[in-house]
Symmetry: C2
Subunit: 215 residues, 2 copies
């Protein structure tokens, strides 16, 4: 059965998923890029940027796993861009250039309707105003039997976790302290929601752990 | 100058410092003992329990550092025992037996006055009702130029952190998820308070990091 999966979601040592003051210049907020230090040198990420080489090993294995058997994607509106409220007519089409690394349907959670945006390479951004369950249903239909990857941000993941809809979640704790921002897990009792920690591996750059929903 | 230091304070992957439902049977709350997995096999901890042997390496180095140059100790009342409110006349003298591992003055933060309790081996528990600054002042006087170690729990550490009084704090993220309990860092902007992450080391059992107050 098609699962909803979170992969490579980076948080700080104090549990924040993005730094404060997100903007066009700082898409991950101040200090947020350091969170992904474990990821940026991996073969998977380098290939995504069209570059050869990259590291192999545990960090790479986790990076690669996030692209296996994924047929559609979901993200929160704040991950799609820095705008808030009604969509301004500014031609914003995401952070990822003309050919985003998704190559299939991406469902963006928003309270503000907008027409789909087809991009090069098979990615189409769809804007879903009917809530998280509706977005998941549309994504699963689009995925054609494969899984759906929930990209973030923290607020979207928290909503899906609290609804018990995330099947598996890989989190990477980076080696940075952010102080404030969006907290991923504070106040969410993952154990009571039926999750168990099924994997824990540390590398020099990150502490990886996986929460899996008991069926 | 005498510093206030936190060492070996263990939190879960989701940031909690003690499990829920603390009691005489479960002093660290349900699941809380797993937090200290990195510590219990170290030479320092084994020696504290009167046993020979124990592991050496990074985990041991962090355990040992918590006992270097410490002249007095501070802990919150909830760490001293499971009672809340007025002290019942039950002869409770802490979790640590007749000869606690502190061997000097320990200042217990409480709203409820109680006479000092002298123990074997040089430990005396003092009960301070005048607040965190008063406890720190008394501890520093007692420490005779050495540092003061703040043992916990989360609530006591949060108060000292927010007051900017902690000079250095070593936290160990264990390989367990707790879901609920006392959160150590959520809502505290350590960067704005003047702390920086000055060390980050991972081992198989824990992710160690040190926050240091800029002077």
């Amino acid at each position: 059965m098609s699962k909803l999966r979170v992969h490579g979601f980076s948080i700080s040592l104090d549990g924040y998923s993005a730094g404060p003051d997100q903007s066009r210049e700082e898409p991950l907020g101040i200090g947020g890029e350091e969170l992904h230090e474990w990821l940026v040198e991996t073969q998977t990420f380098q290939r995504m940027c069209g570059k050869p080489g990259g590291t192999t090993g545990v960090d790479e294995d986790f990076a690669a796993r996030g692209f296996e058997n994924v047929g559609a994607w979901i993200m929160g509106r704040n991950m799609f861009g820095p705008q808030r409220g009604d969509w301004p007519d500014d031609g914003w089409k995401g952070w990822w250039g003309k050919n985003p690394p998704y190559h299939s349907d991406v469902f963006v959670l928003t309270h503000h309707a907008r027409d789909p945006i087809p991009m090069e390479g098979g990615t189409t951004f769809h804007f879903v105003t009917e809530g998280i369950e509706a977005a998941l249903q549309r994504a699963q239909e689009s995925a054609g039997g494969r899984d759906v990857r929930l990209l973030g941000g923290a607020s979207a993941i928290r909503q899906y976790l609290e609804a018990g809809l995330v099947g598996e979640m890989h989190v990477a704790i980076g080696r940075v302290v952010l102080g404030r921002g969006e907290h991923l897990l504070a106040g969410i009792d993952t154990l009571a929601l039926g999750y168990a920690c099924t994997q824990h591996v540390t590398t020099e750059k990150a502490t990886h752990f996986v929460l899996t929903k008991k069926s």
